[in-house]
């Protein structure tokens, strides 16, 4: 394959609908894989309340991340950073995005690989699975954001069908054990707020907005689209949290590694269909794939703009090797991966990625506006 078969990165456009699907899947996959356990670790039976709170916190961060993109609908964050604070400082700040994407890609692929290795492919070396996902994601990123958008169109119905079926079949069991939710909010608001911290901070994934807003058809409406995606995945989070805490119980649920898949495993649809969690895992893998390929696209695109390349595609090969290696080596095992999601570790990291670059850029934007004149002009 040669690059000339694909459209130039600057002319590619995705529909806002596809943008919504991408954002929804990238957040929902990580959320349903790990988060119920983390929220319930602090909030126990009130985890669903944490899930509701997390929507508002995350929405605030989305506004911070995406707000500047609306002011510069034609430019990626790397480009408007250079406009706002000068060429070299802008590039330096943009490096933080690259770092964020690197860690997010490594973590997402690792979660996928761990889920497979713990449940199904117990003897397969982890690196194989990681590199399979990295290769698939790189192929998607190489084909361009339009192609990822179309793949999202195809995979979104499968993903949603999996979620709907899993949750629908969980309803009878959940109703039977609804006393697991009681007592409601007995320990006050403190644990609920603490429990919502991690789901809020995971929104660092939406740093991809900084690269994606200019490729949407209607960049002005992109922020609204992102909030809708967030609302959708928050709804899923609430439902999944409810299902997991009722069916598994707040204590047991908080100790499970992949609580959602364990819950699906307990469901028994009929005598003929047992162990259907493999299909849930299958559909969930599609979601992970969309997330990973979007991050790869954003990471390489940002990188190419920092070093001033016309086309981002030549960078995918080398970066793919780094992502894969990082994913295999940055966590010893599943427990270290879970430790990463402990509030005391994940919050500082993610806050740094979000607040430092966006803070600098917002400040520069504010100063330029106050100083008079249009900040859109250099």
């Amino acid at each position: 394959m040669t690059t000339e078969n694909f459209p130039k990165a600057t002319t590619e456009k995705i529909a806002n609908r596809q943008f919504l699907y991408m954002l929804f899947m990238m957040r929902t996959t990580v959320v349903i894989a790990l988060l119920p356990v983390l929220t319930s670790a602090d909030a126990f039976q009130d985890a669903w309340a944490s899930a509701i709170v997390s929507f508002f916190g995350a929405a605030l961060l989305v506004l911070i991340i995406g707000g500047l993109g609306i002011k510069f609908p034609e430019l990626t964050a790397v480009e408007y950073a250079q406009k706002l604070i000068g060429k070299w400082p802008g590039k330096a700040v943009s490096l933080i995005f690259i770092l964020a994407f690197l860690v997010i890609i490594a973590t997402d692929t690792r979660i996928y690989a761990e889920a497979l290795v713990t449940g199904f492919l117990t003897e397969t070396p982890l690196a194989f699975i990681v590199f399979m996902m990295v290769i698939a994601g790189s192929a998607a990123a190489y084909s361009g954001i339009e192609v990822i958008g179309r793949a999202a169109d195809l995979l979104f119905p499968i993903f949603v069908a999996m979620l709907t079926l899993s949750l629908a079949f969980a309803i009878p069991d959940a109703l039977a054990m609804k006393e697991n939710l009681q007592p409601v909010l007995s320990r006050g608001a403190g644990p609920v707020l603490r429990g919502s911290m991690v789901p809020i901070i995971i929104i660092a994934q939406y740093l991809s907005l900084t690269m994606l807003i200019p490729v949407t058809n209607q960049p002005k409406k992109a922020l609204g689209t992102a909030l809708w995606a967030l609302a959708g995945s928050s709804l899923v989070l609430i439902l999944v949290t409810l299902a997991v805490t009722t069916i598994q119980g707040p204590d047991h649920g908080s100790r499970l590694v992949f609580p959602f898949f364990s819950m699906v495993r307990t469901l028994n649809i009929s005598v003929f269909l047992e162990r259907i969690e493999i299909f849930a895992l299958f559909a969930w893998g599609f979601g992970i794939f969309i997330g990973v390929s979007v991050f790869m696209y954003c990471g390489t695109r940002a990188m190419s703009q920092i070093i001033g390349l016309q086309d981002y595609r030549p960078l995918i090969g080398p970066l793919a090797v780094i992502w894969g290696t990082f994913s295999v080596h940055s966590y010893q095992d599943l427990f270290e991966l879970r430790t990463y999601f402990q509030p005391r570790i994940v919050i500082p990291y993610n806050l740094f990625w979000i607040l430092v670059p966006m803070g600098i850029l917002w400040a520069a934007y504010g100063i330029r506006s106050l100083a008079g004149g249009n900040p859109n002009e250099k």
Binding site: M1, T124, M132, A136, R150
Partner: protein, 540 residues
């Protein structure tokens, strides 16, 4: 005596044996007719090497002026040729009237020729090409130009139902090898002047006529220009089949999937043209290309539209299911037996395991062996004469399959899987797509053997990325599913009622999105009531 004469002429021949094609071509292009009839005839024969299918009939116009008819054997309509001869040899009163001035003779002859079209030319190269269409040439002594009379009679097989694309309900016509007949079949179905047919000649030796038909004002002009450019860019010696053209104009050559739909059915081409697509006709083949073509089109058959809507939707979704089975079933079986036994209910698992008892090969080897065996059988079945075709199916399917199981070389479950896959594969209406599915299937089987279901997931992801990246003349290959277009989903895996499908495909028919007046759902009871009440009013 005659031989002697030829030998004398040889030095005049500008075409020597050691000239290559391009030199000969240039030389022929330069040649002009002279005033001497015999000289002209000799030149015509020299450039065609005295080929025996170039027929020359010498005669005298009005028993005085020597002239000759030249035509290709078996390409002309004998009745018309006789009519020309009769007019020039016998009914020649006009010639006598005009005989006084030679310059009038040409118009006199033209008046006498009772044929559709008469052209005049002095270029020998052009004469020859016209002759190969079935035209007859009249050379007159003393005239440096020749008359080209249209006497085309294309001998072709009759219009019968194509073997490879049969339907239960619908027209029984199929394209033939003649370009003109094929275009007629379309023109009869779309009888407006906006059906435009552009013709061009491709192939330096074959001079194949390639025509593309579309509806002016509906087909996208940018797409047409792109298609025109791609066709004009082709520089080759011969186009013998539509496959040649297809490979020259594809968007992405490195793919298994066909990016142009080949069909022999005029109703299919008409329906495509009516949506804003283009039909590419190639002289000499009954296969017409439809461009652009998206993947869902390859899983549609004309029956879907002719049967009632629920039936059409049912058979169409069945076909999708069969396509999915034909791609994934062997891989799924391999991964279940190798990795995910827990997915099967216990009773079924025990059966499968018991049937594998004593089989010496790993399951993937079994599957691949049987798959390849089946492909060989299929290929042999196509090549064999029809008379012994059934024999191979009996030997192959019954004897080999049965014996393999009896001998314990393969397990019965594998034979079931392979047979099911094969049958599912044949339900894909377009062969080129079915064969693509078949090849992809081997990849999935291998991935499943190594990584189980998750290897297949990897394969599915790569396949989706590949399919989503494909385009057919700029139209995304997976439309209307990716990108998702809600209005086109009315005619995709399911089909909505004909009165409900008021729009053309969005990306292709965007210039004239509305196909019919919306809201034509029949309301027989209501209509009658309206009429009745109207009638009552009149009564009152």
């Amino acid at each position: 005596m005659k031989i002697q004469k030829r030998k004398n002429k040889k030095p005049d021949n500008p075409l020597t044996d050691n000239m290559d094609i391009s030199q000969r071509y240039q030389e022929v292009q330069k040649m002009k007719l002279g005033p001497c009839l015999e000289q002209n005839l000799e030149t015509l024969q020299q450039i065609s090497g005295y080929s025996q299918d170039v027929k020359i009939r010498r005669f005298n116009i009005n028993h005085q002026i020597p002239a000759a008819l030249v035509y290709m054997d078996n390409m002309t309509n004998d009745t018309i040729v006789e009519e020309i001869l009769r007019a020039l040899m016998i009914d020649t009163k006009k010639i006598e009237e005009w005989e006084k001035g030679r310059h009038l003779l040409r118009s006199a002859i033209k008046d006498l020729l009772i044929v559709n079209s008469v052209e005049e030319t002095g270029s020998i190269g052009e004469l020859f090409f016209k002759m190969t269409f079935g035209n007859t040439i009249i050379l007159v002594d003393g005239q440096p130009t020749a008359f080209i009379c249209s006497t085309v009679d294309q001998k072709t097989r009759s219009i019968i139902e194509p073997n490879a694309e049969t339907t239960i309900r619908g027209p029984r016509e199929g394209f033939v090898e003649s370009l003109c007949t094929n275009i007629t079949l379309i023109r009869r179905r779309i009888r407006v002047p906006h059906l435009w047919i552009e013709t061009l000649e491709i192939g330096s030796l074959s001079k194949t006529l390639v025509a593309f038909a579309y509806i002016k004002g509906l087909a996208d002009e940018k797409m047409l220009q792109e298609l025109r450019d791609r066709l004009n860019r082709i520089d080759t010696d011969a186009i013998l089949e539509s496959g040649y053209i297809e490979e020259f104009i594809e968007d992405q050559p490195f793919t298994l999937f066909p990016l142009a739909l080949r069909t022999e059915r005029p109703d299919k081409v008409s329906s495509a043209i009516l949506s804003g697509r283009v039909g590419v006709f190639i002289s000499g083949t009954p296969h017409v290309l439809i461009i652009p073509a998206e993947l869902p089109m390859f899983l549609q058959a004309p029956d879907d539209y002719y049967e009632k809507t629920p039936v059409g939707s049912f058979i169409r979704s069945l076909r999708w299911l069969a396509a999915i089975i034909s791609v994934f079933l062997p891989g799924f079986y391999v991964s279940i037996v190798n990795f995910h036994q827990e997915l099967l209910p216990t009773a079924l698992l025990l059966r499968v395991t018991a049937s594998r008892e004593g089989v010496p090969f790993p399951v993937v080897a079994e599957i691949l062996m049987m798959e390849i065996l089946f492909e060989v059988l299929r290929e042999a079945g196509i090549r064999l004469p029809a008379a012994i075709g059934p024999a191979i199916s009996i030997v192959g399917a019954l004897v080999l399959g049965e014996a393999a199981i009896r001998a314990g070389i393969v397990s019965p479950a594998v034979v079931i899987v392979v047979a099911l896959t094969a049958i599912a594969g044949f339900s894909t209406p377009v062969f080129s797509m079915a064969i693509a599915f078949r090849i992809v299937r081997f990849g999935f089987t291998l991935l499943a053997a190594v990584f189980g279901l998750f290897g297949m997931q990897f394969g599915i992801l790569l396949l989706i990325i590949h399919l989503c990246a494909l385009r057919s003349v700029g139209i995304p290959y997976m439309a209307p599913m990716a990108p998702f277009i809600l209005q086109d989903m009315k005619d995709n895996i399911f089909r909505a009622w004909t009165w409900n499908r008021s729009t053309r495909p969005k990306l292709i028919g965007k210039r004239e999105p509305l196909r019919q007046k919306p809201g034509q759902r029949p309301h027989p009871g209501k209509d009658a009531q309206d009429k009745n009440s109207g009638g009552n009013k009149n009564d009152n």
